[in-house]
């Protein structure tokens, strides 16, 4: 059997057969499900403070007290003056007393409202009092201006942008595009880090326990490095594939198990945004339709190519860094910066690019090979011009080959360097060793 294949096989099998890999692969989606559930619950948590609020409305401006079923506040209108209510606050069963402002001008937009309270009020409670009052003052104004709800509602106009040209585009569509793009960019970002560091650690281990000298007396350093990179790459693909199947299953299962339908979970995750169920159902159908309309035959192969290009580029750099590091993980951290910084930058660029997929930033950053593996997949759902994809791909593949070569030169020297503190200048010199 070819030596490279042998190495790939070993690197792949020893990892995939490890108990930690199997457990990690199975438990991660579960952990994600639990995380989203908990995060959703935390975000949807609303104030449970049970406070009684008196509104001193001596002029009888309001017809009834504010009432919001979602808040823990109970409002009561009082005809007594604010000062006397405030003075008796400690003895009364109210927690807060608010002074209803006098409304001299119906068209005034800003009011200052005074209050006293037993305990200091939380932000949430303050907001609820503000909203309640503002809502009642609105009703008062409507009456004074002789307006009704219907007239007001008719003033609100909603626009949906739909292109009448050949391109079938809508606002909705770009939201879906951003979703798909964001997911792909995120996967790329995580993959580069998880599997890149996996390669790095494994190189360090081989160097530290000295097996590398035995190996290099049989195979070339480049073969060993490539075998490791490719082997770990397959581990990554395996893991992604398993997750691709498991995550939807877990998603549905958690729904059944906790008796929460996924739709509701989504809403909870959306920081409690209110969507009425019917609209949500319609939206879900639309989302599915939009997802189906994407040109997956182009997106998936392109994504995989970017995955491979980005993975080879970064993991070879990680391998080079691993070879330069000694047994001391901490000491080598400074060597990792030149790699981690572009990855993190690329991630931030990706987030901006999702909002402006055709901007100059998007176009230029998808030509830079250190960024394109993360930025370009995020753009794919927005159907970028083909020439841009092609050009960025060519640049990426070319650079990946270059970086693999470069890393190979560092690696072959690095793995035999012991007990020496290595810096970038030193590594630069290694490139020119024979």
């Amino acid at each position: 059997m070819n030596k490279l294949l042998l190495i790939i096989r070993r690197e792949y099998l020893t990892r995939v057969k490890k108990r930690s890999f199997i457990l990690g692969t199975l438990l991660t989606p579960l952990a994600f499900a639990v995380f989203f559930l908990v995060a959703g619950m935390i975000f949807s948590y609303s104030s449970d403070e049970d406070l009684r609020v008196a509104i001193s409305d001596t002029e009888r401006l309001l017809d009834n007290a504010p009432a919001d079923p979602n808040s823990g506040l109970t409002f009561r209108l009082e005809r007594e003056p604010f000062d006397s209510l405030a003075a008796q606050l400690d003895k009364s069963d109210y927690d807060v007393v608010v002074k209803m402002p006098t409304i001299a001008n119906v068209r005034a937009k800003n009011f200052t409202v005074f209050y006293v309270s037993k305990d200091q009020l939380g932000l949430e409670t303050q907001t609820q009092i503000q909203d309640g009052l503002s809502d009642r003052i609105r009703q008062y104004k409507m009456k004074a201006l002789e307006l009704d709800e219907e007239t007001l509602a008719s003033l609100r106009t909603k626009i949906e942008l739909v292109s009448s040209g050949e391109k079938d585009e809508s606002t909705f569509r770009s939201i879906i595009g951003a979703g798909i793009g964001g997911a792909m960019g995120m996967i790329m970002y995580l993959a580069v880090f998880i599997y890149g560091t996996m390669v790095m650690r494994s190189v360090m281990e081989e160097k530290t326990n000295r097996i590398v000298e035995v190996m290099i007396s049989s195979v070339r350093p480049f073969e060993l490095m490539m075998g490791k990179i490719i082997g770990v790459g397959f581990v990554g693909l395996t893991q992604l594939a398993i997750w691709g199947v498991l995550i939807p299953i877990f998603y549905l299962l958690t729904g059944l198990f906790f008796d929460i339908d996924p739709q509701q979970m989504n809403e909870m995750a959306n920081t409690g945004a209110e969507i009425d169920p019917e609209m949500a159902q319609g939206m879900a159908a639309q989302v599915l339709e939009e997802i189906g309309k994407q040109n997956w035959w182009l997106i998936i192969p392109t994504f995989l190519l970017y995955f491979l290009g980005g993975y080879f580029l970064y993991s070879s750099l990680f391998a080079a860094v691993g070879s330069a590091m000694g047994d001391d993980y901490g000491e080598g951290q400074s060597l990792m910066f030149p790699i981690t910084i572009p990855v993190i930058l690329a991630f931030y660029i990706m987030i901006v690019v999702l909002r402006m997929p055709q901007s100059n930033l998007a176009i230029w950053s998808s030509m830079v090979p250190l960024f394109s593996p993360i930025v370009m997949p995020a753009r794919l759902a927005f159907a970028p011009p083909l020439w841009q994809v092609a050009l960025s791909m060519i640049i990426l593949i070319g650079s990946a080959i270059f970086f693999v070569w470069l890393s190979g030169r560092i690696y072959r020297v690095g793995i035999f360097m012991y007990g020496k503190k290595v810096n970038l200048k030193e590594i630069w010199k290694w490139l020119f060793y024979r």
Partner: protein, 303 residues
């Protein structure tokens, strides 16, 4: 025919010249000692021979051919710093390493089986390397080095960390492989082992070879005409004029022949016999390799 010929090999790391125009040749099937103090360049040289690194200049010939990528599979190398994949099972690891030396899986399995039987460790196949003791790991390392039946075996400090029992076991295996024609390079600074095992040596210091040849010839070259005579009776009083007496005891004397004294040992003997000294033993004291080593290293280091 030489299995290995090193021709003016030089290797520089940055400003440090690790190997400096080293030349020597190693006859086929011989046991060859590569000696030198720590940091002399032995490991750098071995790495060039095993194609781990390339020489900056000079050439290495393996069986007369310039060294190329096909040769590593005919070389077995056990580095001084031992290393195995700790998490792998012994059997899988050996299979893997053997296949990397161009053995087919079946061949590899059969040859590993042979060694397992020989070392009586058949039940180790499914053990993880990290479960083994250090000495046991050394045995596995040795098997990994020789499993592909290399023509040239390079052992860097092979006995370090081995108990006397295992040392003898490995020594016997090395001797047997040598009988079957395997050339062995033995890199060490333990002189007593070299004297015991090696036919040829090359001594390297500060990157250059300072001494090379057959062990016996080298000892002859460095002998100082020292003799030890055990006797009964009285030594002639004039003996001290023609030899230098280094140590005189009641019944034995250690002396050195001088250039202008006796022509050879026979002349000395004859002189003593004629003087009616009763000789009980007459030995030439040859320098040990250790002494030669220290002397050579000292004289070449300060140049």
């Amino acid at each position: 025919m030489n299995i290995l010929q090193i021709d003016k090999v030089t290797k520089t790391y940055g400003a440090h010249r690790a190997v400096d125009t080293v030349s020597f040749s190693m006859p086929k099937g011989s046991i060859f000692g590569l000696l030198g103090p720590n940091g002399a360049g032995k490991t750098s040289l071995i790495r060039i021979i095993t194609t781990i690194t390339g020489a900056d200049s000079g050439q290495v010939y393996f069986n007369g051919e310039p060294l190329n990528r096909s040769h590593p599979s005919q070389i077995g190398y056990m580095p001084e710093e031992r290393g195995l994949y700790k998490k792998m099972k012994v059997g899988e690891l050996l299979l893997y390493l053997a296949q990397l030396k161009d053995l087919s899986k079946a061949e590899a399995r059969q040859k590993i089986g042979y060694w397992f039987e020989k070392f009586e460790i058949e039940d180790w196949w499914n053990k993880k390397v990290e479960e083994l003791s250090k000495g046991m790991q050394q045995k596995i390392q040795f098997i990994a080095t020789v499993v592909h039946e290399p023509e040239l075996l390079i052992l860097d400090e092979p006995f370090s960390g081995l108990d006397p029992l295992n040392t003898n076991l490995i020594k016997a295996e090395i001797a047997e492989m040598n009988r079957k024609g395997t050339g062995i390079i033995f890199s060490t600074h333990r002189m007593e082992q070299v004297e015991e095992i090696c036919e040829y040596i090359v001594l390297i210091n500060q990157g250059s070879n300072v001494l090379e040849g057959k062990v016996k010839a080298i000892k002859d070259q460095f002998k100082e005409n020292l003799f030890r005579v055990d006797f009964k009776g009285q030594l002639p009083s004039g003996l001290g004029d023609s030899v230098r007496i280094l140590e005189a005891l009641e019944d034995s004397v250690t002396l050195q022949l001088l250039d202008d004294g006796f022509a050879d040992a026979n002349a000395l003997l004859r002189y003593l016999i004629e003087a009616n000294v009763q000789i009980q033993a007459f030995n030439e004291i040859l320098p040990s390799l250790n002494e030669i080593f220290i002397k050579q290293v000292e004289t070449t280091t300060h140049e």
